[in-house]
């Protein structure tokens, strides 16, 4: 039976990791995501499922513990907030290079540097365009509700193992800190199977398994890259997820993700009340990005307004997707400031309608 609870986004991520049958969580506290590790420590999942939880000595240690666990074929997760995620980037690149699965959660706060502990979406580029070095991609899931925080942990592990690739859940200070109703899925058992790529000791009659991201022969390294790129094209074909609101007859389109999409939806409803046919598309996967859906809508509408809690990052992908079919404008607040629906609507009226 499904279970209804009132939970903080961060707690929901933690509970979902236990229920998804994760084998391990390694983390290091940082506001506004510390409730993830606090919840796990309190809940002590070792008693429930045997899942191991460890507070590492640093973010760098935590991501490398994830690397090690993933190399053994285990379901491992780590979480942090922006400055901590920057520290993890080297490890994420290695995990992507070694083609191992894991889930990394970023409960974004505003930067640059230590910045502030208030919510932001200013790590979009870092999540979607690389962040670490080398030509790699992560599937990036952007929850807008506490419910999606739960669902994306399970989905994240599924996708991570399907593609043997790191998956990032890009939450933020709002979704992490707020409480909402959630339906929890049933406990999944931890897997007892060892994938054939897991480094768990050489079996007689089988080749040794080596996990590495190092390939010094350029010809070979190019092959590695081609294989990765082919995998990313598969992800782009299969894993695009998005949600639309009132787009059927829309003459204007809002694009927003995560918590900002909820606020933007209110602005869209304000426009509708004034008789302006506005719609909203909310990418749920930021990579792969809903390029086709936005391109199709761009042909239908008079203008597109992207709203983000940053200085304008996703708007670049929206422009690429729109391919000039409609003008693309941007409104954002940053540094930990949260836009109000009125502000968004006013900016929309000014930039799109010309009031």
């Amino acid at each position: 039976m499904k279970e209804l609870r009132l939970m903080k986004g961060n707690e929901a991520l933690a509970e979902a990791a236990i229920r998804a049958g994760a084998d391990a969580y390694f983390g290091y506290p940082i506001t506004p995501q510390s409730e993830v590790i606090e919840y796990l420590m309190r809940e002590n999942p070792a008693d429930r499922t045997g899942m191991q939880v460890l507070q590492a000595e640093s973010e760098v240690a935590a991501i490398n513990m994830v690397y090690g666990a993933a190399g053994c074929g285990k379901k491992a997760m780590t979480s942090s907030s922006s400055p901590g995620i920057s520290l993890k980037m080297e490890g994420i690149s290695y995990i992507a290079g070694a083609e191992l699965p894991c889930v990394v959660v970023n409960v974004v706060r505003a930067g640059p540097g230590l910045g502030t502990i208030q919510p932001s979406q200013s790590d979009y580029f870092q999540a979607v365009k690389g962040g670490g070095h080398g030509d790699y991609k992560m599937i990036v899931l952007a929850p807008a509700t506490v419910q999606e925080s739960v669902d994306y942990v399970r989905l994240g592990f599924e996708l991570a193992f399907k593609y043997r690739n790191p998956v990032m859940i890009l939450s933020d200070g709002i979704i992490g800190q707020m409480m909402e109703k959630v339906e929890l899925f049933e406990q999944h058992p931890r897997s007892t199977e060892e994938p054939e790529w897991a480094t768990v000791g050489k079996k007689p009659g089988k080749d040794s398994v080596i996990v590495t991201s190092l390939q010094l022969q350029s010809e070979e390294q190019e092959k590695v890259n081609l294989k990765l790129q082919a995998k990313y094209r598969e992800m782009e074909k299969n894993e695009v997820r998005y949600e639309t609101h009132q787009c059927e007859d829309a003459e204007y389109l809002f694009v927003a993700f995560g918590s900002c999409a909820r606020i933007t939806r209110k602005a869209m409803e304000m426009a509708r009340k004034k008789g302006i046919k506005a719609g909203l598309i909310r990418p749920q996967t930021l990579y792969p990005f809903p390029v086709k859906a936005i391109h199709k809508l761009a042909k239908q509408v008079k203008g597109i307004m992207t709203v983000e809690m940053n200085a304008g990052q996703m708007v670049e992908d929206v422009r690429l997707a729109a391919r000039g079919e409609a003008p693309v404008e941007f409104f954002g607040r940053f540094g930990g400031m949260i836009p109000s629906p009125d502000e968004i609507f006013n900016a929309f009226e000014q930039k799109m309608i010309g009031g």
Partner: protein, 184 residues
């Protein structure tokens, strides 16, 4: 039905848990709810606030700039949120420790001496439940039985014997809240 509430006061007055109890009660009544705390530097400075939304429909934005109801438990909170109440909205303030009366004339204003009442009950910890009682008297958006069910969810089992005390506090709050001003 949609009720957007800001609750603000000193840390330790039970501001955050008041919001959680209201939300949990809302869940018990089959409503959509959201609860958003302040977690910034102001938390460290001694004042805290949270936004609680109870609605029949899906809640779009958990972060608001204006509210149907403000429940303020100290002067800095009154100063900060009096102007954020929608015209015709409701302000409930704790009388103890306020140095100035509210200015607005276009909102309904109620005063509650919850702290004094909690002293009379020999338990200042139920202060916030008295305030919740006062709020539910003025805006009966949630039935009492659902508040009790909510408490059962919020409180760990070892505290369940305190639920009757909390219920009593709610009743006292309902009794002592007074109207201070009716919206013009």
């Amino acid at each position: 039905m949609s009720e957007e509430i800001i609750i603000a006061g000193f840390g330790g007055q039970g501001v955050l848990s008041m919001g959680q109890i209201i939300c949990y009660s809302g869940v018990m009544q089959g409503k959509e709810v959201s609860w958003m705390p302040s977690y910034g530097p102001e938390m460290r400075g001694g004042t805290a606030n949270c936004t609680a939304i109870i609605s029949d429909e899906q809640i779009s934005s958990p972060v608001l700039t204006e509210f149907d109801t403000a429940i303020v438990l100290n002067q800095p909170s009154m100063d900060k949120f009096e102007d954020a109440i929608k015209p015709g909205g409701l302000l409930i303030y704790e009388e103890n420790g306020m140095t100035r009366k509210p200015r607005r004339k276009d909102i309904n204003i109620c005063a509650i001496a919850a702290y004094d009442e909690s002293v009379k009950m020999n338990n200042t910890k139920v202060f916030n439940m008295i305030v919740i009682g006062g709020f539910l008297k003025v805006k009966p958006i949630i039935e009492l039985e659902n508040v009790i069910k909510g408490l059962e969810k919020v409180l760990p089992e070892r505290y369940h014997h305190l639920i009757p005390l909390n219920e009593e506090a709610i009743h006292r709050g309902m009794k002592i809240i007074k109207e201070a001003h009716q919206a013009n």
